[in-house]
Symmetry: C2
Subunit: 201 residues, 2 copies
């Protein structure tokens, strides 16, 4: 699930004339970024590859960078929703575990996409910066959701940072190499590792 | 006497005319950013305020943004050095605690500077992005230092994230409002809070 799905319904009326335009633009952009690099790809080329106009491109994305971050809002909604929906009796870290499980389930069948995307982002300083902004925004959103559950500061802020740290580290393990575990398992193991690292000895 | 010595003498001669140029440029930049905002300040204005030429500015800084990040390298050296110097018997989180203590000591008398800098950064998306890059770089450096101590993955990566999370959250508490604790104490309390948050119940 990404933001695309939400837009999809809204644009269903248009979909008869431009079936799946958003998804076609995303696929065209990813293919071009992987082929010739992010810096050397233009919106004109993406639109042409997708068989659409630049005007259509800009109806879905403000610029070529945001094509790679269309899912950030949905990811945030997922994390925040799972934290909010955790039982009142759940501790902050248990609420984080539930949120990460929800994220893992959504990513389960997107490993190849995630690999390609990560390689594209790794090749561009501008995209790496944007990825850091995405992660910082997620952390702040989780902290906000914790405060809404009555968690004080600095615990709420630290819990937000922890949630994103576990997601980030597990994601990096998941997309590179021949890691046999799925993202959900990697995040569960990461959270256990974090508990072990921070445990008083 | 070789070419190196000549250079030294050359700069020593100038030093009499331009005492502490770097520090003067930093102070001029901070004052202008606080007065008129980062976006509306030029290198020409900074140089003029410092009583120096633009050419001198560019001898110390690649651009006006980096004036605010001149300390990032020293901060990284401090963190990494303290992790490396921790006794072999120290756990990863104990090594982090030592590194944060070292950082706290250095910042002890820089609160007013930190407040002004944080306010400037808060007013510019470009500077906030650069700050995120700084923090991500610090996290990676701590993780690297952990691996050099024999800590495996993902523990090393998570420990780097935890170190920066505690620093970041404590720093935000320290620079805003009327927080009575110093940065060292806030980081110690933050680390305890993190241990408590991640403790299995």
């Amino acid at each position: 699930m990404d933001v695309g799905d939400c837009h999809q319904e809204y644009h269903q009326g248009m979909a008869r004339w431009e079936p799946d335009s958003r998804s076609r633009l995303e696929q065209a952009a990813m293919a071009l970024y992987a082929e010739r690099g992010f810096d050397d790809t233009t919106v004109a080329q993406i639109s042409e590859r997708a068989g659409l106009t630049e005007r259509t491109f800009f109806r879905y994305f403000p610029d070529k960078r945001e094509v790679l971050f269309g899912g950030a809002g949905a990811l945030q909604d997922l994390l925040v929703g799972a934290v909010a929906d955790a039982p009142l009796s759940a501790t902050p870290i248990d609420a984080v575990a539930r949120a990460l499980d929800a994220v893992g389930a959504v990513f389960a069948d997107r490993r190849e996409f995630a690999r390609v995307r990560q390689a594209i982002i790794g090749g561009s300083a501008e995209l790496q910066e944007r990825e850091l902004i995405k992660l910082a925004t997620l952390s702040a959103a989780v902290a906000h959701a914790m405060r809404a559950r009555g968690v004080g500061d600095p615990a709420a802020g630290l819990t937000g940072e922890v949630a994103v740290a576990v997601f980030k580290v597990a994601f990096e393990q998941w997309v590179v190499g021949t890691e046999p575990r799925d993202l959900s398992q990697l995040m569960r193991d990461g959270l256990d590792e974090l508990k072990s690292v921070t445990a008083d000895t």
